[in-house]
């Protein structure tokens, strides 16, 4: 009896919190991995319009982004105020789209290539002319899955 109680008394120190940092670090790494830092800084102003019939873009790696909008104040003097297309981190013209799509395509596994989606992030204030040219170019390069990026409508 005495032996038993003695052993118990010895083995009840404070709960070890030594593994707490490990747990927190695990959470931290999770968030660090999940966080997607925008890889291209925007040179055009993009304020997408609101819509209600939205679908979610599933796999990030299967999506390429095309930004269309008017140049921001920083680039206004150099590039004017008419709507421009931005691919990656630089201004581009419609003719650069096929190469851009091809560059993205080779990074994607072959069996997934049919599911590549182009996300058009278009400013609501842009006229349809440039959007139409880009759509035509996408059709010509056989990139038919397109997602018009939009914000959910707040009721």
């Amino acid at each position: 009896m005495s032996k038993f109680s003695k052993k118990r008394g010895k083995s009840t120190p404070a709960i070890s919190t030594a593994s707490l940092p490990d747990i927190i670090f695990m959470l931290l790494f999770f968030f660090m991995v999940v966080t997607v830092l925008r890889d291209s800084s925007l040179m055009v102003k993009v304020n997408t319009p609101q819509a209600s019939e939205l679908t979610k873009l599933e796999e990030k790696s299967l999506v390429n982004y095309l930004y269309i909008g008017r140049p921001t104040d920083q680039y206004k003097e150099q590039y004017g105020t008419s709507p421009r297309l931005q691919l990656g981190d630089k201004f581009a013209t419609v003719d650069d789209i096929p190469l851009f799509l091809e560059k993205h395509k080779i990074k994607v596994a072959e069996n997934k290539r049919a599911r590549i989606t182009s996300s058009l992030k278009v400013d609501g204030d842009v006229t349809m002319g440039i959007v139409q040219d880009i759509k035509t170019q996408l059709r010509k390069s056989n990139q038919l899955k397109v997602n018009y990026s939009a914000k959910p409508k707040n009721e």
């Binding site: 707490l20 968030f31 966080t35 209600s52 990030k60 999506v63 997602n147």
Partner: protein, 185 residues
């Protein structure tokens, strides 16, 4: 002797209690800076590119629901000026034709929505119109799913059910080459 060894152990142990605080600080920093970007939008399937224009004259006019948007962002629905608020209900009525009217679609499978805009149309207006037309179809699919299967239409539905619904009410939206009256210079 025994006392000394216990003292030794105490000095050798680094206090790791504050480690959690440091990790928490980093965690909170990442929690705050992370904006889980919700990438949402209207998914569209573009038609494959072909050199020749689709000839719309072969279609019966009663089966075509034409929507025109001009450079002033005004709507012309079936040759009459219209409001964007009425667009969804008109499209739904056109597709289903519940009262069997002469001038609306013969049946949902024959209904075609034709959208035409100008190069000077605002993108916001264009997307709003597109959204309304898509909403019309989504609501019809929903009604169909409710009456047939008793559930609301969603991506989680079995594939055959979705196929059956889409076979009955197919989403046909043809976009004509835009006019260029109000092109921005």
């Amino acid at each position: 002797m025994a006392k000394k060894s216990s003292k030794d152990r105490l000095t050798n142990e680094i206090n790791a209690g504050s480690m959690a605080d440091i990790a928490f600080l980093l965690l909170i920093f990442f929690l705050v800076t992370t904006t889980i970007v919700q990438d949402k939008g209207i998914t569209v399937k573009l038609p494959p590119w072909s050199e020749e224009e689709v000839d719309a004259t072969k279609l019966k006019t009663r089966n075509v629901f034409s929507v025109l948007v001009n450079a002033q962002n005004q709507l012309l629905v079936r040759d009459e000026p219209a409001n964007i608020e009425q667009l969804k209900d008109r499209a739904k009525e056109f597709i289903m034709n519940p009262r069997g009217q002469e001038d609306l679609a013969e049946k949902p499978t024959k209904a075609i929505i034709s959208l035409k805009n100008d190069r000077g149309t605002n993108y916001e207006t264009y997307l709003e119109v597109y959204n309304e037309l898509k909403a019309a179809y989504n609501e019809l699919w929903d009604e169909e799913a409710q009456s047939k299967y008793g559930t609301e239409y969603s991506d989680k539905m079995p594939r055959e059910q979705k196929k059956a619904i889409k076979g009955k009410i197919p989403f046909v939206l043809s976009e004509a080459e835009p006019t260029s009256f109000g092109e921005e210079k």
